[in-house]
């Protein structure tokens, strides 16, 4: 999925880097220093419905054209994450223990139309 240009109207991934220093949390989150808080937004017109974003193939392009020519769009389609990865965190818990854990599905890597 392309990451969004400021005025991109279509479904894309909006990237935001969050530095834990900015949250005032560097005293208890030891590593990493920040993470990508990405989210999906943008419109999903009917001919994009079901298109998996960057994984679009020739077949899905043709399929999209067929859909676009179909005067009865099949309901609404939403811009949703289609690929996410875990975030490995090293932090201090309330007892002062050092905890290393992988938080699943924390970073959105790709968006697509449902």
């Amino acid at each position: 999925t392309p990451s969004c240009e400021p005025e991109t109207p279509l479904c894309c991934r909006r990237d935001h880097y969050v530095d834990f220093q900015e949250l005032g949390w560097r005293d208890w989150i030891l590593q990493p220093e920040g993470y990508q808080l990405n989210y999906c937004s943008g419109q999903c017109p009917p001919h994009l419905a079901g298109s998996p974003g960057i994984a679009a193939s020739f077949h899905s392009a043709v399929f999209s054209l067929l859909k676009a020519n179909n005067p009865w769009p099949l309901g609404t389609s939403c811009c949703v994450p289609t690929a996410r990865r875990p975030l490995s965190l090293l932090y201090l818990d309330r007892d002062g223990n050092v905890v290393k854990t992988d938080v699943p599905d924390m970073v959105v890597e790709a968006c697509g139309c449902s």
Binding site: E7, I29, D95, V103
Partner: protein, 218 residues
């Protein structure tokens, strides 16, 4: 609201950059706390010495993979009482392993001072819960220490259930091996039990399989 521009998703007015940034930071806090199953950020009352922290992290197996939703924990010992003898002391650990997790790997890291006189037999006991007789403690492991420096002593994870209160007390009891002519005088300290080289526990947990307790009972 940013004049003129329209949200590409909902068509509503878009946020001014500062307001959008503040919203993103708030979302990040919620996402992190939810991912760590915390209701609020921990308040660090006594920060760890940086050197102890750095050393402990270096000791963790490099690239050790934490199982999905599992955790690797380093817990530094708070020394409760330390007898003047060579290396017998009680180490107290405060652990808040979530109920939904199962401990499957435990090692106690000890730093033995250069005053080590030959081979020492070290026995590690776990104190019973407070409410029972003070003397109830269970032998967890016995190791022989032959050289100064760091030692990673494996403990049976089954024996490390910590009390409802989240406190685990280990009693170290050591004695020179018989016939050890260079035994240290009883007052010489052999273990580093405070400061940057204090003992710590290295634990690994993973989520319990659903229904695990039932399967075991069956």
């Amino acid at each position: 609201q940013r004049a003129g521009s329209v949200c590409p998703s909902c068509g509503g007015p878009t946020l001014a950059p500062q307001a959008e940034r503040a919203l993103v930071l708030e979302l990040a806090k919620q996402q992190i706390l939810k991912g760590l199953h915390l209701t609020g950020r921990p308040i660090i009352t006594h920060p760890l010495p940086q050197a102890a922290l750095t050393r402990a992290l270096r000791r963790l197996q490099r690239g050790s993979v934490v199982p999905a939703n599992g955790e690797q924990v380093i817990s530094f010992a708070a020394i409760t009482d330390f007898s003047a003898s060579t290396c017998s002391s009680t180490l107290t650990f405060y652990l808040s392993t979530p109920r939904s997790h199962h401990l499957y790997h435990a090692r106690l890291w000890l730093h033995v001072l250069p005053t080590l006189p030959g081979t020492l037999s070290l026995r590690i006991f776990r104190w019973g819960p407070r409410r029972r007789r003070r003397g109830s403690h269970v032998l967890l492991a016995e190791h022989q220490l032959t050289a100064p420096g760091w030692h990673a002593l494996t403990l049976p994870s089954s024996g490390l259930r910590h009390e409802e209160s989240g406190v685990l007390r280990l009693q170290l009891d050591c004695r020179p091996l018989e016939g050890n002519s260079t035994a240290a005088p009883q007052t010489q300290q052999l273990l580093d039990t405070a400061g940057e080289q204090r003992p710590f526990l290295e634990l690994k947990t993973r989520p319990k399989e659903p229904g695990a307790g039932r399967a075991r009972r069956r």
